[in-house]
């Protein structure tokens, strides 16, 4: 037994590089599992604990002005556990030393004590004093980004009046783990934050004494959410209810869910590739080793070693590979998991977020890795088990080649004999070729899926910023005003062109499916914001009817010509049946569009606007910003250049990191597969290749036989990998698409080309590492060793 153990170590020493290559491929699978499921678990557990301890609500609703007296009726709805009525509104904030205006969502706190639901977590300072109407608490990220500490003062426009407010403390809320400002696509803590204010102050600022405009509920166990939502809608309808919804429409929650589902997709798609490739590699390398050692196996059997001992002997090698892969994978996964979690804390503001994968991902990935290698070894080892000692002792029959389809092809093409050697080797060992093919194809696919992010992001950015939203700035008005405000806006400093929009919350319904979205009523000749057809060409707003984004039309099962019910969730709050006249390419959000005159004709009212898109002479921007801060009628200001910059910064940081990691994973598969295949080739054909040298073939010519075979396989694998990569990319865009941003599926030629070139270059380097060994082979010695 001890002698056999020594043999395991010696065998491993001979092929350590091959074993390491397999272990690395395996480690990638383990790593992705530990990284994705571990991060998923950390995120879920942290979120759930935060939700529970801070009583995150289940149902959310808005209204224009609902009397507090309604609350007892709402609380009496079957299934409602707790009710919290608040006043929520948007305010412009004027910060010291910041030219551009910031905005904030103001949320009321009960007149005394803390709220029953969505409890904010006090990080520093204290809650505002009920008797001090100027005291407010700020969301921690906003306060930190702007250097506002307890005791500091800042100015905000509340209900048309510029007020000075005092900071009492910093808060975090389960409702705003992920915070997006109006018309923003990325969290921007400098320009958007949350302000908590005692209710009397908030009511005074909004003229909502004795009333509320925001409602959150928690449900009792077993409650029927849809029924509660319907009941709440009924009760709030007379008071301008804007439609109740569950957590599935709660912004922060939706983003976290999206992230979790991406992690889930990653855990499902990637590890199987790595595990399957590792299993095949183990089979290939061990099969070759056993074929080489058949005489030794025969000898061991002949001198009385039981078959079990021999099986265990070879399994030990396998387990060595499995252990190494698992340990490396755990290490990498642990390390990257910490990195990824740290990245999350920049967007998701949890009071704490540690990477705590728990034991499960470790155990599961370890078992999967071991399972894969043992399964891969089984076939090879069973060949050793079946060997009868007498047969094993005889020299192996020389490889038998037969004429086949390849010959005719070879003659037709006038292939050189060295090329024929390659063709015959491929047709003689199709299984081995298939492993390389499958492995490299998987690698190309991973590369395509990782490079494609850049194509998609480019297209999204182009769609959003260059084709759809060409305005420099967007103003959100305190309340709807007459259309003539478009003209008034031209008198603001630097404004070259202004286009008004009336935005209203609506519920669109078709059959059983319905969704809460915004309706944008625009000028028919709007030029700053445009519609795109599915191919990305600008199209005019239809003269009548409503235009829906693709994803919404698909969700509701609607086609142009169909009727859709559009229920306005603002006064006069009534439904209309409108014809869908256009389906357009979605870039951001799921806004539906109509001509403003058509819309207000439906309502039988004079057209109004509550939003303004501006084209601005950028040199006058500071003057414009200063003016907007002093204009109480404006409650929101978005500078699109900032939106774009922050989006690009985020993309660059997280996407490039992810792309590097995934490209690395993709390349590792190619290295593992090609290096091993070439090593086996070399070992089996050293004699043959040495005899070519004797015949006067140059090193490069002999190297060609080794290199060209692997490169040919890689080349054939490329289109297969493209197909597989296309499929991966579809899975990925589906996983990443949310109601806010729907990712288009585009793969540029350069992505295909880059993936192919990366795989080819990696394969080439891998086989060159083996070629070095070929060059070191001593001809005379190689010829003496007759296999």
């Amino acid at each position: 037994m001890r002698a056999l153990d020594r043999k395991v170590l010696r065998d491993l020493r001979g092929i350590w590089a091959q074993c390491l290559a397999i272990a690395m491929v395996l480690a990638c699978g383990v790593m992705v599992m530990v990284l994705s499921t571990g991060t998923q678990r950390s995120l879920t557990e942290t979120r759930d604990a935060f939700y529970e301890r801070h009583r995150f609500a289940d149902v959310f609703a808005g209204a224009t002005r609902a009397p507090r007296g309604l609350l007892s009726e709402i609380a009496a709805i079957d299934g409602v556990a707790q009710v919290e009525a608040r006043i929520v509104f948007t305010a412009m904030v004027d910060l010291e030393g910041m030219v551009e205006p910031a905005s904030a969502r103001v949320i009321s706190l009960p007149a005394l004590g803390g709220p029953a639901l969505n409890l904010p977590l006090l990080r520093t300072g204290r809650l505002p004093d009920p008797l001090q109407p100027d005291e407010v608490a700020l969301s921690e990220p906003f306060a930190q980004a702007n250097g506002l500490r307890p005791g500091d003062r800042f100015r905000a426009v509340l209900n048309g009046r510029l007020r000075e407010l005092v900071v009492t403390g910093h808060l975090l809320s389960p409702e705003y783990i992920y915070t997006l400002g109006p018309a923003a696509m990325m969290p921007d803590d400098r320009h958007f934050g949350l302000i908590w204010m005692r209710e009397p102050a908030a009511a005074a600022a909004t003229d909502l004494d004795g009333a509320f405009n925001d409602l959150t509920l928690s449900l009792s166990r077993g409650a029927h959410e849809a029924a509660v939502i319907a009941a709440v809608d009924r009760l709030l309808a007379p008071y301008g209810g804007t439609g109740a919804h569950g957590r599935d429409r709660q912004m922060s929650h939706v983003f976290i869910e999206g992230e979790l589902s991406q992690l889930g997709a990653m855990a499902r798609v990637l590890p199987p590739i790595f595990l399957v490739v590792s299993a095949f590699l183990v089979n290939m390398v061990l099969g070759r080793l056993i074929a080489l050692e058949r005489r030794q196996i025969g000898l061991l059997k002949a001198i009385g070693y039981p078959t079990r001992t021999i099986v265990i002997h070879y399994l030990k090698m396998t387990i060595g590979i499995g252990l190494a892969g698992t340990l490396i994978g755990w290490g990498m996964g642990w390390w990257l998991g910490h990195g990824m979690t740290a990245l999350y804390t920049e967007y998701f503001r949890f009071p704490w977020l540690d990477y705590r994968p728990g034991a499960a991902p470790m155990i599961i990935s370890g078992l999967a890795a071991m399972g894969a290698v043992v399964l891969g070894a089984m076939r090879a080892v069973s060949a050793a088990v079946r060997l009868a000692p007498a047969v094993a002792m005889a020299p192996p029959a020389p490889p038998v080649y037969r004429r086949g389809w390849a010959d005719a092809l070879g003659y037709r093409l006038g292939l050189r004999q060295t090329t024929m050697m390659i063709v015959r080797s491929l047709t003689r060992w199709p299984g081995r070729a298939a492993v390389t093919l499958f492995g490299v194809a998987g690698s190309v696919a991973v590369l395509v899926a990782s490079f494609v992010t850049f194509d998609i992001i480019d297209l999204v950015m182009e769609d959003i910023f260059d084709r759809t939203n060409r305005q420099h700035a967007t103003l959100i008005l305190h309340q709807p005003v007459k259309e003539q405000a478009e003209l008034a806006a031209l008198s603001l400093p630097g404004v070259l062109h202004a286009e008004g929009v009336y935005a209203a919350p609506v519920r669109v319904r078709h059959g059983q499916a319905s969704k809460l979205v915004s309706l944008m009523a625009q000028d028919p000749d709007a030029d700053l914001t445009r519609l795109l057809d599915p191919e990305g060409h600008p199209i005019p707003l239809p003269d009548s009817g409503v235009a829906l984004p693709e994803s919404l039309a698909a969700y509701l099962g609607l086609m142009p010509g169909d009727q859709v019910e559009v229920e306005l969730l603002a006064p006069p709050r009534r439904p209309w049946n409108v014809t869908v006249t256009r389906v357009f390419r979605q870039s951001m959000g799921q806004d539906i569009l109509m001509r403003r005159d058509t819309f207000f004709a439906l309502m039988n009212e004079t057209p109004q606007i509550n939003m303004l898109h501006l084209a601005v002479d950028t040199s006058s921007l500071p003057a414009l910003q200063t003016r907007i801060k002093q204009t109480p009628a404006i409650t929101g200001f978005t500078l699109w250049a900032d939106v774009r910059a922050s989006m690009e910064a985020t993309m660059n940081e997280s996407l490039i990191t992810m792309t590097i990691i995934f490209s690395g994973l993709g390349m590792l598969i190619t290295i593992g597969v090609v290096y091993n295949a070439a090593r086996i080739q070399l070992a089996e054909r050293a004699h043959e290749l040495a005899s070519l040298r004797v015949l006067g073939f140059r090193r490069a010519e002999v190297g060609y036989v080794l290199i060209a075979e692997q490169m040919l396989l890689t080349l054939v694998a490329v289109p297969v990998g493209w197909l597989l990569g296309y499929w991966f990319a579809i899975l990925m865009t589906q996983g990443f698409s949310t109601d806010i941003i729907s990712l288009p599926m585009v793969i540029s030629r350069s992505t295909y080309a880059q993936a192919a070139l990366t795989a080819l270059a990696t394969a080439f380097v891998s086989v060159l590492m083996v070629r070095r060994r070929l060059d070191r082979i001593d001809i005379v010695t190689a010829l003496k060793q007759k296999e």
Partner: protein, 241 residues
């Protein structure tokens, strides 16, 4: 004609070559000062006990190996002073090898094994002609695994002569064959020598075979002990063993 050709122009010669193999503290002197010449168009047989240095000498003559000291001259070229790449070119252009274990490429047919060499040679004969010379025109499209040992060895000879080499070096070409088959292989070698005037050196264990040679070189312990001229070489078919 043969005597004329043997007007003593050496094709290949060595001057006091030694070959020392070192493994740790032990040094094996495989060749201990060998000076020998191979002349135009002659057949030389190398005889000697196992381990006497015959293969080592042949490998150095054929540019497969370099001597530890001494010179190897191919016509005017000093082979002991050149790089590996130049030795490769020397083998490619001028030398044909035949070994005891045929060293055919198993994935190529007989014809293709020969074509392997003709494709990279300057003035080769067609593979079919080479195979015809060794009496294998009927088995050209067979793979090595489908040929007998003697047939495989004759493919190896066809492959070695197809490029019309200046020198043909054979290391125990009949070593793995029975006598009858061995004779057909020897006939193929002698036929090539006679028709193409290829200088041929042949290692054997079998003393009887020396009778087909123009000269016989005896080796023992890495030295040449005796050189015999044979004024009347016999045909391989007359050899009996």
């Amino acid at each position: 004609m043969k005597t004329m050709a043997r007007a003593r122009t050496p094709v290949l010669s060595t001057e006091a070559i030694t070959k020392v193999y070192r493994s740790g503290p032990v040094a094996v002197h495989a060749l201990a000062g060998v000076s020998v010449s191979l002349f135009e168009a002659e057949v030389v047989v190398l005889l000697g006990a196992s381990g006497s240095g015959k293969s080592t000498l042949l490998n150095i003559l054929g540019g497969l190996d370099q001597p530890t000291s001494g010179r190897v001259m191919f016509r005017d070229q000093d082979l002991s002073a050149v790089e590996d790449a130049a030795l490769t070119e020397f083998r490619r252009k001028h030398v044909g090898f035949v070994f005891q274990f045929y060293n055919l490429v198993p994935s190529l047919t007989a014809r293709e094994n020969v074509a392997l060499v003709t494709e990279i040679a300057g003035n080769p004969m067609p593979p079919e002609e080479a195979l015809d010379r060794v009496g294998l025109s009927g088995r050209m499209d067979h793979f090595p695994s489908e040929l007998s040992g003697g047939e495989q060895q004759r493919v190896a000879i066809a492959r070695a002569i197809a490029k019309r080499p200046d020198i043909l070096l054979c290391d125990e070409p009949t070593g793995a064959l029975d006598s009858k088959t061995g004779i057909t292989v020897l006939e193929a070698l002698i036929g090539v020598n006679r028709d193409l005037g290829t200088t041929t050196a042949l290692i054997t264990h079998n003393a009887e075979i020396r009778r087909i040679a123009d000269r016989v070189i005896y080796m023992a312990d890495g030295r040449i002990t005796k050189v015999e001229e044979n004024s009347a070489p016999i045909a391989p078919s007359e050899v009996s063993w």
